[in-house]
């Protein structure tokens, strides 16, 4: 079955082609069926593959499709690699992907036929790219998927192309991704130069044979790629803007899958990272800083999706922190749980927005639990999960990372746990302002409020269940030794010590208690603050600073965008007036010379003869002063 793994990405691709090419003629229902159906089949296939893979002693299989680039000594084939890590990701992607497709059939129903089909074709294309990303057996295929998801993200963010702002957001996403991609590319070039190959097996095999400096450079560059894709400092600003896309997109791409590509990639190349402690520290620091920064910003956002977006950034920071401290499986674990609860959160938010008729401002919501029970319950589960309240999944994955962070450096832990507290706070701020209290919107909106249809709620429920229970896949050793199924499952890929530094059980327990207590405090504080009096005032002072996202966008504008723009303007001027001016100047010089030179042709014989004689004089002088 693993040999047929190529079917998994190809099916969504087929869906993309069908929906894309016949978008004008296909009825909407068929579009939905094709769109979701292909992903569903892929999911089934993934499950089958997963079935193969999870057996003990499964050897990673590389499925070679064809020579992609074969030049001189460089051979890169279009090959897929099936192993525990990729199989897991297959499941997450196709599973969550399918749910979100299903959700979209209802959510996007108001779109016109061709646009509806376009949406599904984009989604399918995204799933395809993402699958290529995780299946790729070498860095180049990974990179193909890597850029592919970036493209789909661009397309989907700008899906409502009539709104120029969305277009800008899409562009921003793509360009920031590209900046990261350039780093990735350089890393690939470096591999080619140093290892002569980009195959995982070969690169990892030869990793020990080159200097640490090279490995550090490669890993750092790869990490640059990851910061772009996974929205880390300094390239994170695109993600909140990406919320311009339809909500299912945010759920699928900007929460569940694409943004975790960076984590996948680093986990995948952990062999290299293990050899580069400097990079590990950088990853951890950036991760922790991002987690903290995004969390603080999330505190003051009023747009429901923006809060979720910053929360995503923050959670991604966690994952990088996990990677940085060597807890690869923790990071992957968090990827998985995060996929569930964050997708759920987004879909729930989508459901809310849907009900509110497109309104995303939390200040206009409130008391929705009355109208939307299913959404409310599932949303609450997700909030609990993300806040790290046991026994929801977030608790397990987050604490695994925090524990590893403590083992590496307590400061990481402090930042992490404080961020966890902030997370709990802002999530429940969100929850409380949205679902509790009284409705603050217009009457028309109130009249409109309703629970979403089944196609929306079913995915919510499924995800809610997953978000609730997925944590038990990785029960920490504190509770039961060797019960960490995920760790065991991934160990063939991630290595035996993928948990980071093991702590003593007592310490680990202590840490857990601290984080849970903090989370609970956060929940309670937010509940207390916003449930009764949910009006969100204009932020002032530091709050304003946070509400304005630390003015990072403004900073980037001032430091990068403006100067570049000015430079471009200057160069345009330079091109037109200096370089072209010189070129035209040569022409004009010739004409000027012509005008001047013609004056010699005075029409006077005397003048002509005079010049002739002077010519003779010159010749004779040359003759006199040259030696033979």
């Amino acid at each position: 079955m693993t040999q047929l793994v190529w079917l998994v990405p190809v099916l969504p691709l087929v869906g993309f082609l069908i929906n894309g090419l016949f978008r004008k003629s296909l009825p909407k229902s068929l579009v939905g069926i094709i769109g979701s159906g292909t992903v569903l089949i892929s999911f089934i296939l993934s499950v089958v593959i997963f079935g193969d893979v999870r057996h003990e002693g499964f050897q990673p299989t590389v499925v070679d499709l064809w020579d992609f680039i074969s030049v001189d000594k460089l051979h890169i084939s279009l090959a897929f690699q099936v192993d525990q890590l990729s199989a897991l990701f297959l499941l997450i992607i196709t599973g969550v992907g399918f749910l979100i497709h299903l959700y979209s059939t209802s959510y996007m129903h108001e779109e016109e036929g061709p646009h509806y089909a376009r949406f599904f074709s984009y989604l399918n294309l995204f799933v395809f790219s993402m699958l290529v990303l995780v299946l790729g057996a070498n860095f180049l295929i990974l990179f193909i998927g890597w850029e592919g998801v970036g493209l789909c993200s661009y397309l989907l963010i700008g899906y409502w192309f009539k709104n120029l702002d969305y277009g800008y957001a899409a562009r921003k996403a793509f360009i920031m991704n590209r900046i990261g991609d350039v780093g990735f590319l350089i890393a690939i070039f470096m591999m080619i130069a140093k290892f002569g190959s980009v195959d995982f097996a070969e690169v990892f095999g030869k990793a020990g044979s080159v200097s640490t400096g090279v490995i550090t450079a490669i890993t750092l560059l790869l990490f640059v790629g990851a910061t772009g894709k996974s929205a880390q400092i300094p390239l994170y600003t695109w993600l909140p803007d990406a919320m311009a896309g339809p909500t299912p997109v945010s759920a699928l791409i900007h929460a569940a899958t694409m943004v975790t590509a960076g984590i996948y990639m680093i986990a995948r190349s952990h062999v290299l990272y293990d050899l580069a402690p400097v990079t590990m520290n950088v990853v951890a620091v950036i991760g922790a800083a991002t987690a903290f920064l995004a969390a603080t910003i999330a505190l003051k956002q009023n747009d429901i999706k923006k809060v979720l977006a910053y929360s995503t950034v923050s959670q991604l920071g966690y994952m990088f922190l996990g990677l940085g401290v060597g807890a690869y499986d923790g990071a992957v674990f968090h990827v998985m749980t995060h996929a569930f609860f964050k997708a759920l959160l987004f879909l729930g938010a989508g459901s809310v927005i849907h009900a509110m008729g497109g309104e995303q401002d939390m200040r206009k919501m409130g008391g929705l639990k009355k109208w939307m029970p299913a959404t409310h319950i599932t949303f609450l589960i997700a909030c609990l999960a993300i806040s790290g309240i046991p026994p929801f999944s977030g608790f397990f994955s987050k604490d695994e990372i925090l524990a590893a962070a403590y083992g590496k450096n307590p400061i990481y832990y402090v930042v992490g746990v404080f961020t966890a507290f902030l997370t709990a706070f802002y999530m429940f701020r969100l929850y409380a302002t949205t679902f509790l209290g009284g409705f603050r919107g217009t009457h028309e909106q109130e009249h409109h409020l309703h629970e979403s249809p089944a196609a929306i709620t079913i995915p919510l429920w499924v995800l809610a269940i997953l978000a609730a229970v997925a944590g038990f896949l990785g029960i920490p050793a504190v509770f039961a030794p060797n019960a960490h199924w995920l760790g065991a499952y991934l160990s063939p890929v991630l290595g035996e010590n993928a948990h980071g530094i093991e702590l003593e059980k007592g310490t680990e327990g202590m840490l857990m208690v601290v984080s849970v207590v903090l989370a609970v405090i956060g929940v309670v504080a937010a509940w207390a603050r916003f449930a009764k009096k949910p009006e969100l005032g204009e932020p002032t002072g530091f709050g304003k600073f946070l509400a304005n996202k630390w003015y990072v966008d403004e900073l980037y504008n001032a430091v990068v965008v403006r100067p570049l723009d000015l430079l471009a303007q200057f160069l345009t001027f330079f091109d037109k007036h200096i370089i072209d001016g010189i070129v035209n100047g040569v022409g004009r010089l010739v004409q000027y010379g012509s005008r001047q030179l013609r004056l010699l042709q005075s029409g006077l014989v005397g003048g002509y003869v005079l010049l002739m004689v002077i010519g003779i004089l010159v010749l004779f002088l040359v003759e006199l002063f040259t030696k033979h």
């Binding site: 064809w66 680039i69 460089l74 192309f161 120029l164 562009r171 570049l564 160069l571 070129v583 035209n584």
Partner: protein, 489 residues
Amino acid sequence: MVAVLLVLIPLVTGLAGFFFKSEGLAKGWALLSSLATLVVVLIGLGMARDSAALHFDCAWLPELGSRFSVALDGLSLILTLLTAIVFPLIFISTWRDKYSKPWNFYALMLLSQAGLLGVFVATDALLFYFFWELALIPVYFLASQWGGERRIQATFKFFVYTFVGSLLMLIGIIWIYSHTPDHSFSIKSFYAMHNKISGKDQTWIFWLMFLAFAIKMPIWPLHTWQPDAYEQAPTAVTMVLSAVMVKMGVFGLIRWLAPVVPVGFWAWGDTVSTCCIIGMIYASLVAIKQDDLKRLVAYSSIAHMGLMALAVFATDANGMQGVMIQMFNHGINILGMWIVVDLIERQFGTRKISELGGLASKAPGLAILLMIVALANIALPLTNGFVGEFLLFSGVFSSAATHYNVVFTCVALLSVILAAVYTLNMIGKVFFGNTNALTSRGVDIKFNEKVVLAAIVVIIVFVGVYPKPVLELTKETADFLLTSMNYKP
């Protein structure tokens, strides 16, 4: 025979074309001729590489040591293929364009095709020079006759600029020729000179000939003819110029210069590379600020060609094959870009980005096809552009010809980001947003245009996904080049 047919078909049909004094007839004739050429190229592709039919040689100017000898190797094949694909596509896509005296237009187009094909197949330096100019002259007339408002000045600048270059090249060719022991223009004799020319002379020759190629490509700062010429030429001609003609520069570089004066090449590689890189960044930045679609594409082309030149000077196997495949890819992609520009201009009578907007809702087909072409242009994976640029950058990075390979790569890669900026900017401003008074009249593309763009997309995706056939085609040439370029005194 194949090689000589390639030149003869467009030449003869082109000359005959002047006498078809009817628009339909002239168009049909041109299309037929270009399709015939395409068939011939495809036959050539199907032949074994060492097949005798790919070579042709007969006496031409025995006293001068010049023979009419043409041959098709991998590099020639890929470029003739490009030329042969581009011309029918141009004819089909501009089928609805109206020209005064269309027979002259089409005849000149065919003549320029003859010149281009001749450049790519010639294995005699003098013949090469002949075709080099033959390709230029019809284009000059085409652009001056049927171009935009400032066509005369712009085209003339273009002509004189390239003419200066080619004359300097002629000096270089003659110099080498007069120093060959057998007084021959044959490419073999030229190649045999690579270790016989002193370092100082190699510098001379290098610059004389390089200038011609640099102007043609063009490499910064010799590029200013290009935006003007592209802007002013009728789009069909712009397509020829940018899709095929600029490749002549790169082609000349790797066929006629690199293996002949390797020492000069090595000695000046860093200088030229620096220019290329400046040009890449510079052109990309300037492209961001362009309001005219044609100028935008023109500057983007400068950036792309700069990269190819950079990779040539990197003298690395990956880079060299990248150059060859990218020449093909860039030709196809930019052709697609021009077709879109042409469609827009024909429909709305303007190329100003600021006057357009919201086209995606009126012409979704156009928007999608442009999107794919544009993505190929910014080298997104699974498009042909990616394969090329990946190899190019990889070649530059691994280059042993310079100490600054890492710096070069990193700086040059900035252009990849900038390319995304200006391309997406353009897409955003032209296609996204709401329609305005002008663009609300827009309609989607017609059948013929769809066919052409679809064909281009197919090529883009095919090469992007399965570049192997193309890469294998040029393998031998690249190997040979590297061996001969690696000569060190």
